[in-house]
């Protein structure tokens, strides 16, 4: 078995007394794109938050590049090379577009991504770099959020619902840029409700259902029926 970049082993996560994840395991190899799909409340975002350090799993282990990152704070996880594009984009409203990108590079990890490279990837951002982040359209905000995460030069990028609330043409636009990002040697975990989009982009698929992995496999080998069964639990 090749060395995995990220290995999540049997994590349980809770919101107070409510258990959101039950022994979830997941493995990503370098350069891989994994899609995590599932219905609302299946635990997709919780899984990403646990990996990124925004939540602390109560049991289980998360290893990244051979080292345990279980229980580290979010700012320490970034330093290891994991960046999260949060659900709902969550740009900093008091900062300009460019400042949002610059603060993404705050951790000063070296690598291919710089302001210039992000502007090459998303030229719309350069034209609007002096504007407040709130002045961008939804799609541009999503580009800025992805750019901001790339600025930390991560080895693993976690994207939470990047198609949420965007027009189909904008979604296609953003997804068409993902191969360029992976081409720089990144691995990607995409959380999506839009299954068609997710299956097209990913090599590997994990389907969560009520906090458990209901199905996993290579994207091209899974049948529609198997996914439907795992998704809805019927």
């Amino acid at each position: 078995m090749p060395d995995a970049l990220l290995e999540v082993r049997g994590i349980d996560a809770f919101y107070g007394d409510f258990q959101a994840l039950f022994g979830v395991s997941l493995t990503i190899e370098a350069g891989q794109v994994a899609a995590v799909i599932g219905a609302n409340g299946a635990g997709k975002s919780t899984l990403l938050k646990s990996i990124a350090g925004l939540m602390r799993p109560q049991h289980g282990d998360i290893r990244f590049d051979g080292a345990s990152i279980t229980g580290l704070s979010a700012f320490e996880v970034v330093a290891h090379g994991i960046a999260l594009v949060p659900e709902g984009r969550r740009l900093f409203p008091s900062l300009t577009v460019e400042e949002n990108l610059l603060i993404g590079g705050q951790s000063r990890r070296g690598g291919p991504w710089s302001l210039t490279r992000v502007y090459q990837l998303f030229p719309a951002l350069e034209e609007r770099r002096r504007l407040p982040a709130t002045a961008l359209s939804g799609g541009q905000q999503q580009m800025a959020a992805i750019g901001r995460a790339l600025m930390s030069n991560p080895r693993l990028l976690l994207c939470d619902e990047i198609s949420l609330g965007l027009a189909p043409i904008v979604i296609r636009d953003i997804y068409s840029q993902l191969p360029k990002i992976v081409g720089e040697g990144l691995s990607l975990i995409i959380v999506e409700q839009d299954i068609v989009q997710a299956l097209k982009a990913a090599n590997r698929v994990y389907c969560l259902q009520e906090g458990r992995v209901a199905l996993e496999g290579a994207a091209r080998e899974l049948t529609r029926d198997a996914i439907a069964a795992a998704y809805f639990g019927v």
Binding site: L54, R90, F92, P93
Partner: protein, 288 residues
């Protein structure tokens, strides 16, 4: 001419109030913490300066070279070791803890320095004046104090909008969780904000102590002046805070001119009128 003089004196003292307010506004802006001990920390800085001037034999303005870093360090440790633990969704715990801190500082100073009034002696500069126009003289020291206040406000403004630290302050203020995702340790950012706040407090405390007598009990009234200046100016705007301090200072000076007993009352009345008519303050931060 007499009124021009009154207004000028009010403007100059307004600079001091703006310095009381700037540190208060800064930490509220960054971490939504209302520091009830702010006034007592100003008085603490005055006593630190007293100790420095007495033990090293330097003037109060020179003592700033030591008092500012000492207070900044106090601020960093205070935030890191105590106040960070009180921050959360609830505004009440930090309020109660800083209220307790206020009592501890007041009584600690009372134990160490007694209730006697003290004053820092700046020497001959205290009585130097310059003539502005025919018949209007202003003191050199109040003028220096005002210039320093403007410089402090301008410096904070630059720091907030032109430096990486300022960017980190604004980002943390916007969204703590996402700031962490950017690799920012918010505990450290908060501690840096408190250190900066107490560096400003140190400057304010020394100028306060040169200007007038101080004793361990005068902190809470300085806190009120600071609050009033922040609210008049509008939260989140440093230049607004300076203007808030000046409006408060001028109101007090005019009140005192009409009747010496009206000095504080006039300031409070103007504050209440502005709060009633324009609760967001005169220059609120443009919301995003």
């Amino acid at each position: 001419m007499q009124w021009l003089n009154v207004i000028l004196q009010g403007v100059l003292i307004g600079g001091l109030y703006a310095m009381f307010a700037a540190g208060l506004s800064l930490i509220f802006g960054v971490m939504r913490l209302v520091n009830i001990a702010h006034g007592d920390l100003i008085v603490l800085a005055a006593y630190v300066s007293l100790m420095v001037t007495q033990s090293l034999g330097v003037g109060p303005l020179t003592s700033l070279l030591l008092v500012v870093p000492v207070m900044a360090l106090v601020g960093y440790l205070l935030q890191r070791l105590l106040l960070n633990r009180t921050l959360g969704d609830d505004l009440l715990p930090p309020l109660l803890v800083t209220f307790g801190l206020s009592i501890i500082i007041q009584n600690g100073l009372l134990e160490l320095f007694t209730a006697d009034s003290r004053k820092l002696q700046a020497g001959a500069i205290e009585v130097h004046t310059v003539q502005l126009v025919q018949g209007v003289w202003i003191g050199v020291l109040p003028l220096i104090q005002f210039i320093v206040a403007v410089a402090v406000v301008a410096g904070l403004q630059l720091l907030f909008y032109r430096t990486a630290l300022g960017r980190a302050f604004r980002a943390t203020s916007d969204d703590q969780a996402v700031a962490q995702l950017m690799g920012l340790d918010t505990r450290h950012i908060f501690a840096m904000a408190m250190a900066l706040s107490l560096a400003v407090v140190a400057i304010a405390g020394v100028f306060l102590a040169v200007r007038a007598n101080f004793d361990p009990a005068i902190g809470p009234a300085r806190l009120i002046f600071g609050f009033e200046a922040v609210i008049i100016g509008g939260l989140g705007s440093m230049w607004g805070t300076l203007l808030g301090g000046i409006i408060l200072g001028v109101s007090q000076a005019i009140g005192a001119q009409i009747d010496p007993g009206w000095q504080l009352l006039a300031g409070h009345i103007v504050f209440l009128v502005i709060l009633a008519l324009r609760p967001q303050g005169l220059f609120p931060k443009v919301s995003g």
